[in-house]
Amino acid sequence: MTVADQHGSTAASGLAAAYGLVDADLVAMYRTMALARALDERMWVLNRSGRAPFVISGQGHEGAQVGIAWPLRRDHDWVAPFYRSIATCLVAGMTPRELMLAQFARGSDPSSGGRQMPGHYGHAGHHVVSVSSPVATQILHAAGIALAARIRGLDQVAMAIMGEGSSNQGDVHEALNFVAIHRLPFVFVVENNGYAISVPAERELSVRDVADRAAGYGIPGTVVDGTDVLACYAAARDAVDRARRGDGPSMIEAKVTRLTGHSSDDQQTKYRSEAELAETRALDPLPIFRDQLRAAGVLDEVAQLEIDGDVALAVEDATAFAEAEPDPDPATGVDHVFADRSSNEPPPPWHPAPREGAR
């Protein structure tokens, strides 16, 4: 939904109007990207200073993520993201505090209560499907969600997102075949950053454009430039509308750049040249979008500084809040295996006995 719907601010520059948006939307999109980036950068700082053993990030993907998630109806449509989807999760309604709770693996982390690695977000209320590590499995979950939406007569759309390397997994083929047969309200998004960890696209993907595979399922496929946030938005809006109208699934491939190593455990200079990395930095969607908004008069110096300030505060707040939260209680380790704890196998004798009433 547009910011105008929420706040009544209806000023629309030519740029915004061209996409059926108002300026406040564009600013909100930019703010979300900036927030994602700042949180992400902070996570690396935490890692390098020994306060977080692992980071996996979305730097370079934020433009595509914000543009593509923007047309979803929050808390109504569903999204099944992947480990780089920090900006996607912000658009879906997760807060900086929630993301930082996952980074610090605190007991109050809504994604997984500290059980999963950082980056493995999830939020039932916001209809964000829990990210798991085995890649590509989520495409089938989103397909099943779309199926249930159809059967239950809800007008929800389900979106699944992953990298181009993951799109080669068998589950993707099986899912696309199924959603296409049933013309389900489904959108498949590939964030193609040209690498699966160290393996370059030409060794992991037999076509230049993953979107070329859409035709093999009888569904539309589009390639968008992931540094063009509004092109991403437009492609996603069309796909979401089509899905909601009952005209079936489609695929969007956004060409993006991975600005960091694969994760904090990866040394990308081993397989990417300095020259390539330099080129990469020119494809950072954040300054590109900022410059676009400045040029269009949607964003001025003052507004930008204000956003920067807000974002910095939000990151500070989230970090301080999350870091101060307690670790999970080990007595809760045995919980959440089954609905009914009595279905669990009794813990081995060496276990600390769970405290009475602990959950």
Binding site: G144, R152, A339
Partner: protein, 327 residues
């Protein structure tokens, strides 16, 4: 009470749950017009239509993975895997996804779903239509494994499985579909998951079994009874969560335990039963916890001579009982 075959009880259980709860759907290969290769879903498509009885593509990972998604969005899918042997392409979706969703979301997201699969041998099914797969799944926290042995239990446990808040693997021994009959009451009833049944009481020796092997064990027990060996037969019914109390109470009483399973012996489900008994009933044992199981070769050859060689039988079980009783 009406008498039903094993498969009729399953079919009725499915139909009645679908009538009761519009969230229940059935999906799988050939479950629609054909009614399933064993006819377990026969008639459901005619009654409930395309939306709730879905003939899927020939893709098991998809069948399970979309069931996970559908469960996340409010349905209670009952997926059929045509033969348990073909569950392996879906292994990742079952083990990494269905069984872990609750844990990894601290119960924020849950997947109430059932996977039905015909398993077991003795039907000329050869290497890929005969396997026992329970050991793989009973080992996995987060999914329940149920193996009924009577029509009554099949229906009652299927109802309980569909109503359960967690994923359940529901294994049906295909040799029992038409060969086993039993009484099934008219009204609504469930059989709780996680409760074993003592099918025969005895003092000399406990035989632990599930599925078809319960029937073979009972037949064996009859035979040796004539020789004065008085066996108790425990039908586990649910492999996970396991009913330790019933199991251990029986062995503590008899002092001897024979675990019978059709699957390969090494690392099979019966190993866990034997290990538990050995550890927790140690002081009561007056003979080694014994296992009688399939040989450690791929299950099971098509040729009838080799198939018989592989399959357990009442005679083989009776032999094992005699040996252990004589200990």
């Amino acid at each position: 009470m009406a008498v039903r075959t094993f498969i009729e009880a399953i079919r009725e259980g499915l139909a009645e749950e679908m009538r009761r709860d519009p969230a229940v759907i059935v999906l799988g290969e050939d479950v629609g017009k054909k009614g399933g290769v064993f006819l377990a879903t026969d008639g459901l498509w005619a009654e409930f239509g395309d939306d709730r009885v879905i003939d899927t593509p020939l893709t098991e990972s998809m069948i399970v993975g979309t069931s996970v998604g559908a469960a996340l969005n409010g349905l209670r899918p009952v997926a059929e895997i045509q033969f348990a042997d073909f569950i392996f392409p879906a292994f990742n979706q079952i083990v990494s996804e269905a069984a872990r969703m609750r844990y990894r979301t601290v119960s924020g997201a849950t997947v109430p779903m059932v996977i039905r699969a015909p398993f077991g041998g003795g039907v000329h099914g050869a290497l890929y239509h005969s396997q026992s797969v329970e050991a793989f799944f009973a080992h996995v926290p987060g999914i329940k494994t149920v193996v009924p042995s009577t029509p009554y239990d099949a229906k009652g446990l299927l109802r309980a499985s569909i109503r359960d808040e967690d994923p359940v693997l529901f294994l049906e021994h295909k040799k029992m579909y038409r060969s086993v009959r039993g009484e099934v009451p008219e009204g609504e009833y469930t059989v709780p998951i996680g409760r074993a049944a003592v099918r025969r009481t005895g003092r000399r020796l406990t035989v632990v079994a599930y599925g078809l092997m319960v029937h073979y064990a009972l037949e064996a027990a009859e035979r040796v009874a004539e020789e004065g060996i008085d066996c108790e037969v425990v039908d586990l019914r649910t492999l996970r969560p396991l009913d330790r109390e019933t199991l251990l109470a029986s062995v503590r009483k008899t002092g001897k335990c024979l675990v019978v399973y059709e699957d390969n012996r090494f690392g099979g489900y019966g190993a866990e039963i034997a290990a538990i008994v050995a550890e927790e009933a140690f002081e009561y044992l007056d003979g080694p916890v014994s296992r009688l199981a399939g040989p450690d070769t791929p299950a099971m050859p098509y040729n009838h001579v080799l198939e018989e060689w592989f399959m357990l039988s009442p005679a083989k079980i009776a032999d094992a009982i005699r040996r252990l009783a004589a200990y």
